[in-house]
Each structure stands twice: as C-alpha cells, then as structure tokens.
Amino acid sequence: MSIQGWTFVFVGITFAAYLLIAWLSRVRDTSGFYVAGRGVPAAANGMATAADWMSAASFISMAGLISTMGHAGGMYLMGWTGGYVLLALLLAPYLRKLGNYTVPDFVGDRYESSVARLVAVVCAIFVSFTYVAGQMRGVGIVFSRFLEVDVTVGVVIGMAIVFTYATLGGMKGITWTQVVQYWVLITAFLIPAIAISIKLTGSSVPQVGMLEMLSKLDGLHEELGFASYTTPFAGGWDKLNVACVTLSLMIGTAGLPHVIVRFYTVKNVKAARWSAFWALLFIALLYLTAPATAAFARYYMIESLNGKQSEELPSWFTSWEQTGLVLWLDDGDGRVAYRGGEQADDNEIFRGGKLGAAELTTIRVDHQAWLTSGGREGQDGRAILRAKGLAGPDRDIIVLATPEMAALADWIVALVAAGGLAAALSTASGLLLVISSSVAHDLYYRIIDSDASEAKRLTVGRRVIGLAVVVAGLLGIFPPGFVSQVVAFAFGLAAASFFPAIVLGIFSKRVGTVPATCGMIAGLVFTGQYIVGCVYGGWPPWCFGIGPQGIGVVGMLVNFAVTLALTPFTKPPSAEIQELVDSIHEPELSSDSA
C-alpha cells in the first residue's frame, strides 16, 4: 500500500474513534459540559492535559525549530515543560480547591468585580484564538501534503470532526477524545524516532543515539559554515534573549487558560497534584524525544541533499518542493549545495515563506534566465531569497519529512500524519472549549443573564463553541503567520495577563480589585504593543534588546509592578474574600476526598 493509502487508513480509523467517543460521552448538564462532571481520574486527566498541551506546534514545528537552532532550541523544551512546575506548585491545587468552572470565573470571584472578570474573558478569548490559529494551519499542512487535498478542504474536514465531539460532549467528550489522541500522537512521534535512531546510530533509545550523533553533526556544521549545533549561544541567540524566552514560555504555560481548566475536571486537590505529575510525565515522553528527532533530521537534511544531482534527489524532496516549503536554486553546477554562515553565498536551498505562487514562479523563471545567459539576463534568485531571509528549508517540514528522509516504511510515514492531526485537533478542541466557556459561562451567565436556566446555558455554550469552530476554521484557511511564532505570542500574552493576577489572588489577602485589573490591562497592553510594533511595525527591540518572543517576562513584571504599586492606595478585599483566600490554603478534610 502507498503512503497515501496508509494515511487514509490511519486518519479514517482515528477520526471514526473520535466520533464514536463523541456519541458515547454526550452530556446533558453544564457541569458535564464545562468540567466533565469533575469525575476524570488523575492519570486520564494527565493524558488529556498532555494532548491538550502538545499542539501542532509541539508535534510538527518544535523538532524543526530545534533542528535549525541547535542548542538555543532548548528554550522551547525547557519553557514548555518548566511551566508545569509552576502550575503544579503554585496554581493547580489551589484553583481546584476553590472549584470554579473557568479562569475568568476565579478572577471575577476573587476580585469581586465584573470588570476584572471581563478583562479576564477578553484575555482568555484573545490568547485562545491566537493559539488556535496555529493549530488549524497545522491541520492544513498535514492534509495538503499527505492526502493531497486542498488546504481549505482539509481544514473543513478537521473542523467538522471537532464540531461534532465538542458540541455533543463538551468537556467530557473533549477529555476522552484527548486521551485517545494522546496515544495516537505519542506513538506517531516515538516509533519514527526509535526507527531512525536504530538505523542511524544502532541505539534503540533515541536520547542515547542523539548523544553519539553530536560530534558528527558538529563536524558537518563546521565544514559547511553553519553555526555549531551544540555550543551555547552560537547562532544569533544571546543569553538574555534565551533566558527571557524560556521564562516567558514557562510563565505563559502556567497562565494558559486551556491548561488550567483541565485541573478543574478532577475529583479533588490530591488528584489535581497527581494529574499535574502525570501530565508532565506524558509530555516529557515527547519533549525528551524531540531533540533526538531534531538532531537526526538535521543530519539527514545535510547528508541527503548536499552534492546531489537533480536525478539523485530523494523523492521526499520533490514532493515537498511542490508545497514551496523547500526550494532548490542551482548555481549552474547541477549539484545541490546547502550551506550557511560565512558560506551563505553558496547556499542553494531555500523556502517559499509567505511568497505567493506567482512571485515564486517569477523568481524561478528569472533565475533560469540568469543561469542560461550566464548572468547577462534575468536575476540570481538565490540573492533575492537570501535577502528576504528565506535561506534553508521551512522548519515545519522537518518532523513530517524525517521519516521519509530516513526511508522508513510507508505505514510509519502515514502514522506521523495521523499523529500531527491528533496533536492539532486535541489542542484546538481544548481551546475552543475555553472560548465557549468564557463567553457562555462568564460573559452570558455571570454578567448578562444570571437567571438563565440550565438548559438555556447549555444551548448557549453549544452555540458559542459551534461559532468558535467556524472562526478557527477561517483562521486556518487564511493563516496569520508562522505556526510556532503565533503560538509563542499567545504565551507572552498569557504570562503578562493571567499569571500575576492568579498568583496574587491565591497568595495575597491584600490585593484588591482595582490594582489587579489595572495590572492585567497594563501587562496586556505593554506586551501587545511591543509584539505588534516589533513584528509588524518594524520597531527595533528597544527594551534591552529583548525580542518579541521573550517580552512576556517584562509584561509580567509590569503587571506585578502596577498591581503592587497600586495596592497600598486601594482598599483591601472584603472579609469574605479574605476568608476565602485563607480557605484555599487549608488542606482538604478527609470527607472532601471521599
């Protein structure tokens, strides 16, 4: 059977499983719809959290990022796991103790303010939509490459599946689908990594195989002019920026509403602590393997292309070339040269980036004319693409193309496609539920119509999630940017808005409504304007040279500073709230955990 045949089989089976679960776990009340009736076992919640967490960016783009960044890529690994330590220690058990439905619900109750609740709702919706856009683009990439359907059709199919199980089962349906999706995505990630490791290094443990690869990889990098793969801070990332991005991602992780909300679904505080452990363990399985995949992919990318003539090029290259994610513009000798650093002028491997098909064709036609005329006519396409910063293949193809590079069996290649879809869909559904609960529970029920009946609230919840699916689908068809970059911004915004408000809400009895609300707004506005200004406005990174991806840390400090500076001038929260804060820290009595 061909790769495409296997892909149809795997995608078909997994999608059928998701729909079956949707039917089995349909719900009739809002507790089931928002927090799965608080009956999810700790280990299952750990798996669901892991699937919720590991997005299309983790699955498709992260190993690719590490592969091109080398040592500095570790900031994504540390950032996206280290946040769980903060979450497990400082947030999850306390939020579960209080037992709300959503993060804005906690903010609104703790700070006794509809304005604070509203700000939190806006933050939650904004962060979730930023993040969900990346997922839908991931679905589009997988569908267009492996099933050779149009990106739009792919996104519509994915949306139809999510729509079904999210509206029928709400959190309950999403949780049990995510448990299955976790196993699909982790199998799809581990099997190719182990197979490649055995093939390349003889070691069946990819993490061990990677260590054996490093000196060979460093040698190749030096020979071809690339910055060293293993030396810290070698390739364009200085210590300050690596530290800031790592911290932003960690704190953002702890403040992401779709992760926090998962801890509301377990039975008690004890289960919340255990489920934080299970979640991090299940996540670490993928995150410890990703650097190995990255190193192997880097090796294959260099070895399988350099010095090859066009008829010797591997088949994966030609199929990915059609998507524009990798391009070869020859210098006339008929052999591929993939170079970097001081040899960048000789590099012939590029990517299309955001260039349209027409622009790419013009560049290629001009380049061909330049080659045949010996430089008298046309234009050197390599110089144009280099000037646009498009040297090297697109990072998004690394994980998807590595099994093909290593010439693994067709069914393994197809499995990766199903895994990528599982990763994208599981995260998308978790985010869509946050959007739905923020609007239907926090905005509609708690602010607009607090007399709404149970049935009415459930209907509103279902309608909002349906609408959110459509908006997310549109964002997937008209993607706003590069998958990982978009996701990294969501973290900056979450770090700058939620984290300080929640931590101070739990650990301080003194911080009241006005400082917390002002702090959230200040953090959000500062981070938002910096990101937009640096990415779209062409600003220099004026804040100590910190790039837009790491600015969330500064936004968080701004939030803390504003909140704490205003606190002495405003009145403390009411006696009930102070008692509530005390009660958060009291251990559960045995009757509660029964």
Binding site: H71, V85, L211, L214, T231, M250, F277, E586
Partner: protein
Amino acid sequence: MSSTSSSPDPAGARDPRVREALRRHRRRTVMLQVVLLVTWAVAGLGCGVLFADVLQDAWPGKYLGFWFAQQGSILVFVVLVLIHALVMNCLDVAHQRAIAGHAAEQAAS
C-alpha cells in the same frame, strides 16, 4: 465540592490547636515550595541557560550544557512535580490525622 463545604466549621477554625495545626501545615508547605522552586530555577534557568556555556566548556566533548538545555532540565522538572505530589499529599494526611486526633480527645473529655 464548593469552597464553603471544604472549609472547616467556624467553631473548629477558632480552636487554637486546630489553628496551630493549620499554621504548621502552611509553614511546611511554604518550605517545600521554596526548596522545589529554587531547584527548578537552578536546573532550568541556571544549568540550561545561564551557566550552559560554563558547563559546556568544563568537560569538553561531553556536551553537558547542551544536554542540560535539551534533556536534563526536563528530567529534573518531572522529578520535582513527583516529589511535590507525594510530599504534599502526605502533609495533608498528617494534618487530617492531627485534627481527627484532637477531635477524638475532645469527644472523650
């Protein structure tokens, strides 16, 4: 499972011995959190980023800075969260025992 049902009754909260047990639990929790968070910062931000170049050069050819940034720190994080779950759940049980023992004493007297 709301906040009201899980907080102890007002009479219990006023009892000095229950309050002492609560204070002890809170103190131990804070100590545990400080120890774990310091380890978190040293392993992640320290070994993975701030001292990564020092670690890398200290033992040439061992790639220690690289290993901490891409493997070691994650392993430490998993262990930290495991320790937190184990110790905190033990502290909670110890607290429940202290309260139950005190309640039994009161009933007997």
